[in-house]
């Protein structure tokens, strides 16, 4: 039996441990995705929350792992990566919308296609809304 200590990635404070049999081949990285002490979690953010925010912004898990490493696992640095990802996703979405429909609805509900008003969504029979 050998003990693998679970340490905060920033200060090596011990969160806990795995006591695993000697014949089990497992690296620390295979056992633990992330560990941070209470103090550094408060200071640098929660790993899972950062992952969730990144994925919600449209990023992939592979890119998340690369980007959070580049951000030194700190929310202060990582926030910029989330924002970039969100802009990238929004741009992709809006580009797709134009390609699919070419329509834009303004605040009054007027539907414009290629810059020309084709109807209003508040009208009962709005052919241009289709």
């Amino acid at each position: 039996m050998r003990t693998i200590e679970i340490k905060c990635r920033f200060c090596d404070k011990i969160n806990g441990s795995f006591d695993i049999p000697d014949d089990v081949v497992a690296t620390y990285e295979e056992l633990v995705e992330d560990a941070r002490c209470d103090e550094h979690e408060a200071k640098f953010g929660n790993y899972k929350d950062m992952e969730e925010a990144y994925l919600a912004a449209g990023g992939s898990i592979e890119n998340f792992k690369a980007d959070i490493a580049e951000a030194d696992y700190k929310i202060q640095n990582f926030q910029a990566f989330i924002e970039v990802q969100q802009k990238r996703t929004d741009l992709q979405k809006s580009t797709t919308e134009v390609e699919l429909t070419g329509s834009v609805v303004d605040a009054e509900g007027n539907v414009h296609r290629n810059g020309v008003k084709v109807g209003n969504i508040n009208e009962a029979d709005c052919e241009g809304c289709q």
Partner: protein, 311 residues
Amino acid sequence: MGIVNGQTADANDFKNASAGAADAGKGVLLDANGNISNTMLRRGGDGADGAFNISSGTTTLSFASANLLIKNYTSFTISGTATLAFSNPHANGSGLIAYVQGNLTLTSTATRGIDLRSMGATGGAGYVSGGYICGDGGRGAGFIHFEVGGTINIAAAFTADLSGANGGNASSGGAIAGGGGAGGGGSFTAIGDTITANAGTINTAGGNQGSSITSGGCTGTNNATAGTDSYGNIGTIAGGTAQGGATKTTTAPRFFSSYVIGGYIFMAAGAGGGGGGASGCSTSAGGDGYGASLTSKAGFSLVTTWGKITR
């Protein structure tokens, strides 16, 4: 040789631990408490992953995009102010099955001793076209299942958070659009013979649906499919309601009878909320969230058995 009709059976014909085929035909020897021993039941797994023990900070384990993470611990402890969190779930949701040979001790006073939020199925994409930008469905929560050979101790101060995420808000500029459906709550179960404390707070609440945008007398509606109460039937499906996100919080863990043998346990991560639709003046629906089905078992992250008296 085993028990044979017409012949006298002696003590050797009854076993409290099976050696496999060599014990075919023999009877079960009850222990001092009149129970079938855990050795015979093989409850608690083989301990191959050793002891897990955390007492402070947040430790995050990865599902590595798999539906199911199975561990065989000799003991499992979350104490002090520790939090156990998870990351990288499967798109259909993920869960942990922890076989624990010895004791399960959950006494941490952290806000979330176990955090399985957003480890369930992804929500459906909201309808998007032109000015219609509907909210995406919220992500469900994951599940966790303990099968314990020793003692279960879940203190009153302990909290596990398996709540579903809220649906996204519609964001179109003045156009009618629906909010995303709520993510479903996850499941928490534990099986064992001896319980020191059955307390704590297990939050399996569904999320709330996202807000819709009203315009011209029409309101975008939520087209999410309803989930199911995770405790409606034994170990069936997790999932908060999609519309309104009705709260499903229990103040105590649910334990199954220790003498259910060969029973089936069906577990699944929380269903994702459906994407918002733009119906009202239009009839465009959002996408469906992943989830489990009571009838087809589609979407189940896990279908398992326990307590089989076999080798």
